[in-house]
Point group: C2
Chain length 220, copies 2
């Protein structure tokens, strides 16, 4: 086991890219892993690959198909409900799968295990977590324990952004000399480049740079 090796979960966005540069400062050898999980905007994966290349770290892609199966199963239930009760379950957004980070961390830990890497790095924040419970420190702590027990392997999960808001993340990126890399990140929910500037992700990003008093390199 290598205590000086780390695996960064890299989505290709601002937070994971900042986390990658944090890891590069902290650990001797850094790799990245991205997830092909049927996301609408696969442009994310291209951003991740490009950022990894520019940062001179390896990028592995893990294919995840659970979300599709779960969605299909939920949709089948909904259809059954239609034919039986003539109404559709409207409460369930078809794209929502709870606990996405649980799957991502588990897959990343399994890959890390095969590489004798014990450190995982994930760019979650419990400040700007948009209501996702799997971004909170309490969950991360528990998951670290579950992975360590379940694999009998001393997994350590690092969360450099856990107590930072978007402004704080931008300032950390600046401190790490990673600001320029931000022009290769992908944030827009609409999958647009240049970004749409109107979706919640674009607005949150804009707010972060504005409050940090820094111009977003993506918009130059």
């Amino acid at each position: 086991m290598m205590k000086n090796k780390a695996m960064v979960l890299l989505s290709g966005g601002q937070d994971s890219t900042t986390s990658l540069f944090w890891a590069k400062k902290k650990f001797g050898t850094v790799e990245t892993v991205s997830f092909d999980y049927g996301q609408r905007h696969r442009v994310e994966l291209k951003s991740a690959a490009k950022i990894a290349r520019l940062a001179r770290v390896k990028n592995s892609v893990i294919v995840i198909r659970e979300f599709e199966s779960i969605k299909n199963s939920a949709l089948l239930d909904a259809k059954a409900a239609v034919s039986k009760k003539h109404k559709l379950n409207k409460k369930l957004p078809a794209t929502f799968v709870p606990g996405r980070n649980i799957l991502f961390l588990t897959a990343a830990a399994a890959l890390a295990y095969t590489k004798k890497t014990v450190n995982l790095v994930i760019g979650v924040s419990q400040v700007d977590y948009s209501g996702y419970p799997d971004c909170r420190g309490e969950f991360i702590k528990s998951m670290e324990k579950s992975l360590s027990l379940g694999m009998e392997y001393p997994v350590k999960i690092h969360t450099p952004l856990i107590n930072l808001d978007k402004k704080g993340t931008v300032l950390l990126a600046k401190k790490l000399g990673a600001l320029d890399m931000m022009k290769h990140t992908h944030t827009c929910y609409e999958g647009k480049n240049p970004p749409c500037g109107k979706c919640p992700a674009c607005l949150l990003r804009e707010k972060g740079f504005k409050e940090a008093g820094i111009r977003d390199p993506l918009l130059r």
Copy 2:
């Protein structure tokens, strides 16, 4: 949320089938979920579907592709090692992925969430666990907490076989009236029907029935 609903992880083997019949006694509504994870012997999935049909419960299949990606990544590393150092990492069995149950439980919990089911049932045993750390009670307890925190949803993981050996499982199946269903289960690692009778899985099954003083219905 329905406290009277349960989701059983059904592999199509003896243990998960016994767990299914345990759940049918304990809960009002029971569903099953199986995993298509690239296992060599997909005959397992057919067994699971048949058992679910005979037991009159729904069977969902979740497609999991992580193991393949992780294996491929490990193999790529090994190849790189060959070209660079002219030797292959022989210590890593290509089919081994640590923490399989972590992934299975996470996917099952996400599916259960969409169905407002809080109870998961898994047929792991820490007596006959063959060295897999993700079959131990301590891991299950921790995972229950991680899933509950990560999905903000009160997941409960039931493990009816946790302290039973194979003999105990056979006796439980008898008590539950599930013995006859055992002729539809699949155990053989070689994927053979009738079973090969020589692989470790066949031998363990044989030992269990022998010690329980019951003839295996699969062999009739």
